[in-house]
Symmetry: C2
Subunit: 207 residues, 2 copies
């Protein structure tokens, strides 16, 4: 994992930290300690201290964190203050399920268009337009798209990945169950759903 990357588990707790901190009035509670946050949220103190230090460095001894600043930094982590644009390639069921999913926007990512090489799915039965692949490159460059989501089958995933990189996309979220080759400077995150289910099944048989 690269330096400074905030683990998913920490990210998952940030909304709870934010809810709590926003309930405090920054004027009346200008500083807040990890100990207080942990106690109020019934979380382990070591855990909260670690989470907050990853987002905001160490708090000031005996004083803690500047509440307002901490809120800002936590919001930055969730992308509240900057919208990142994403496109999706492969408008099959999984792709369309992701298009329909509202939760991404909450984290500062918006899927602005989907692409498919199959003409019959073009147009839109979702809120997002589904465009033909020959418009992919222009679209990504014009809108400075940063993230690409691959929901095509494993046979065309590498080709789609290459197109994304050629169009300036720097982060790829891959749902195809295959290993993609990417150059340095591009971030790849694989989402192997079958593997997740297999992992749960194994935990079950060994638990």
């Amino acid at each position: 994992m690269e330096k400074n990357s905030i683990p998913k588990a920490t990210l998952g707790r940030i909304p709870r930290y934010l809810n709590y901190l926003k309930e405090l009035s920054c004027d009346k509670v200008p500083y807040v300690s990890a100990t207080t946050v942990a106690k109020e949220l019934e979380l382990g103190e070591v855990l909260v201290r670690k989470d907050l230090s990853m987002v905001s460095g160490a708090g000031r001894p005996r004083i803690g964190y500047d509440t307002k600043m901490l809120i800002g930094q936590l919001e930055d982590c969730l992308g509240y203050n900057k919208l990142t644009l994403a496109v999706l390639v492969g408008a099959g069921r999984l792709g369309r399920a992701l298009l329909q999913y509202d939760g991404f926007k909450r984290f500062g990512v918006k899927i602005t268009a989907a692409f498919d090489s199959n003409d019959s799915v073009l147009g839109s039965d979702t809120k997002t337009e589904i465009l033909p692949m020959n418009r992919f490159d222009d679209y990504c460059k014009e809108h400075s798209v940063e993230l690409g989501i691959i929901t095509v089958g494993e046979n065309s995933a590498q080709e789609v990945c290459d197109q994304m990189i050629a169009s300036g996309i720097k982060g790829i979220w891959n749902f195809a169950p295959c290993k993609l080759q990417i150059p340095d400077g591009v971030m790849l995150q694989n989402e192997n759903l079958a593997l997740s289910l297999c992992h749960l099944r194994n935990r079950l048989s060994q638990g």
Copy 2:
């Protein structure tokens, strides 16, 4: 993580180990070392040694692993030799995308039925039948279903979770973006797709 649980990253490499080992003839190559496997697959030796020891314990010094036995143990990890039955509740787009996905069977898990409280989605436009919720309990008990997949919204996820547990399900794969309460003895695996995307976006901005 509970004892003996095999990490997802290791699970993801097992198909490659199996491909390699099955190409060897067990009769001609009765024993194989982690060093050899690592070299042939161009993987780090420490990594392969760790993976194989998790599946099969330490190899015999200077001899390695019994090839045939190792193949069997690796296959067990992927569930080749025992099919686990799963049901899904919530036949929206994500649910139907999962129903359509062929990859689960490869890992020894089969989704045999889906359930939904919305009458209009009952029946089947997928390979799997979509049944009404009032048949859920009987179905699970009758078929000894072990795994439950939750693809309903966050408002009804806990209710569905409780029904699954009452019907004898021991492992729950939750796609709803909320924290579920489960009793001891039930395995819960949360799949927060929005968090995954947020994580990728953060890696991008910090990379």
